[in-house]
Subunit: 284 residues, 2 copies
């Protein structure tokens, strides 16, 4: 089948490479940056470059852009997709994307399906893309009640080809609530952690806990600011929660109340134990 | 030389094991739990059990208890230490310990020296102790202006024997400010992170960032509540900082102000870059 991939960045480039490595499909690339197209051709990640005028040849179009650009691209090119074909996106928020893209494409007889490959690095761009990026990762698919089962089956099968560890089906709203907690909040907190005036004063004191807490502070602000705004409600819920919890520890210390402080820490320790059981993590 | 180790938990037990593995010193153990003493004897971690009446035989006494218990032990046994000998502690706060223990022992002609081996696991107790625990870790020594150089040299040499990666000399106040940021704040934030009502609802969405942020949420609340209270001022400074920073992201989202949100994230990304240069971390 013909697969068009729009946007050959870290994820788009990795999808091309993983599909070329593990399927027989014909991969057609679209990117505004000529140098990126040349690199992708040279790396064998795409079979050819196409313009939007040839989107009508694609049985599946993968839009690997930032959230606002995805909706813009779908609006501007709504007439160009092949009737009966599938258009999928891969960005980290789903409600905003699915709610905006589905009706536009439905009207044209095109199936929209939102997905989220839960993989990435701190780096962006085709140079960091890899056929192995999705190995063992979760591939989230967020159909609506009108999404044809066969489209879900095709997309999840392509996920298996790309070596994802599991396919998870969720509603766009479930996805956005979960991702606000397990990923977006982690990026906000980590990014906030490095803003202390103490940051560059603790040479020799850099502990494993510090490295863990600050790893994802290095982020692409252009992409994440868009993802956060598209998932404002769910993320605000989580940010308010953690501010509330942090304030509880603070108040216990201000009040010299070690019993309350101990109980707050104990409660967190017990929650962590429950989470290790639930997610099957080791305590390492 | 004779070395007495008081408290054969994770750190005390590991010090015994590391000293037995890498030196010829005679190790004498003190612990209120008879079973722990038996395990330590069986493991060859100590040469013999002693009572406090034999502390007078030790050239060096290592007190490996929780903060409040360290001060209590020193007060209660001030007369029992050998004149001219060294008493050191190994707990994670230094100002409170050094300021309380030094004058009591100085009066008795005993040298007190505060240290902090920056190593550990989420687990407590002798069962988890290991001769390798300190491998490549930082060994912080916090002398005062009256500490004899020879005592610092002896303690840092023992640190080298135990395979620490580096010895860092700092004032107790520097230590406490640094540790509030690189370790204590990480434990508070991680412990707060797992308190979201979303914790056990995101199966299939557990990302690397979530695992990193929540790793140290599993902690010993008895020990950490004491450490936090003994370092209240420095830790409150850090907790207030991160609450302030988190509130800035929140307000930008509430105000639909994506430009401010992007700038806040960019600032954090730049801070993280500076920190990677400063601490020589990879971006892994």
């Amino acid at each position: 089948m013909n697969i068009a991939v729009v946007g050959l960045g870290l994820i788009g480039g990795s999808i091309c490479k993983a599909l070329k490595a593990n399927t027989f499909h014909h991969i057609m690339g679209i990117d505004t940056d000529k140098e990126t197209i040349n690199k992708a051709l040279k790396a064998g990640a795409i079979d050819e470059e196409i313009g939007v005028d040839r989107l009508c040849e694609a049985n599946l179009t993968v839009i690997a852009l930032y959230p606002f650009s995805i909706v813009k691209f779908v609006k501007e090119n709504a007439d160009k997709f092949k009737k009966g074909s599938i258009v999928m996106d891969i960005c980290g928020v789903k409600g905003y994307i699915v709610n905006n893209c589905t009706p536009i494409l439905e009207e044209k007889g095109v199936i929209f399906i939102g997905t989220h490959p839960m993989a990435g690095t701190e780096h962006s761009g085709f140079d960091y893309s890899s056929a192995e990026l999705f190995s063992k990762a979760s591939f989230i698919i967020t159909p609506t009640e009108n999404t044809p089962q066969i489209a879900i089956d095709l997309v999840s099968t392509l996920g298996a080809c790309m070596n994802f560890g599991q396919v998870v089906i969720a509603t766009p709203e479930q996805h956005d609530r979960n991702i606000a907690y397990t990923s977006q909040l982690a990026h906000v907190v980590s990014n906030a952690y490095v803003k202390s005036p103490s940051l560059l004063k603790a040479d020799g004191f850099s502990a494993g806990s510090f490295l863990d807490l600050t790893r994802v502070a290095y982020l692409n602000e252009e992409m994440w600011s868009g993802l956060f705004m598209c998932n404002k409600e769910a993320l605000l819920f989580e940010v308010n929660n953690i501010i509330h919890s942090l304030t509880e520890y603070r108040d216990a210390m201000v009040n010299d109340d070690i019993d309350t402080l101990r109980e707050l820490l104990k409660d967190g320790r017990i929650q962590k134990e429950k989470s290790m059981e639930f997610y099957g993590q080791g305590r390492k």
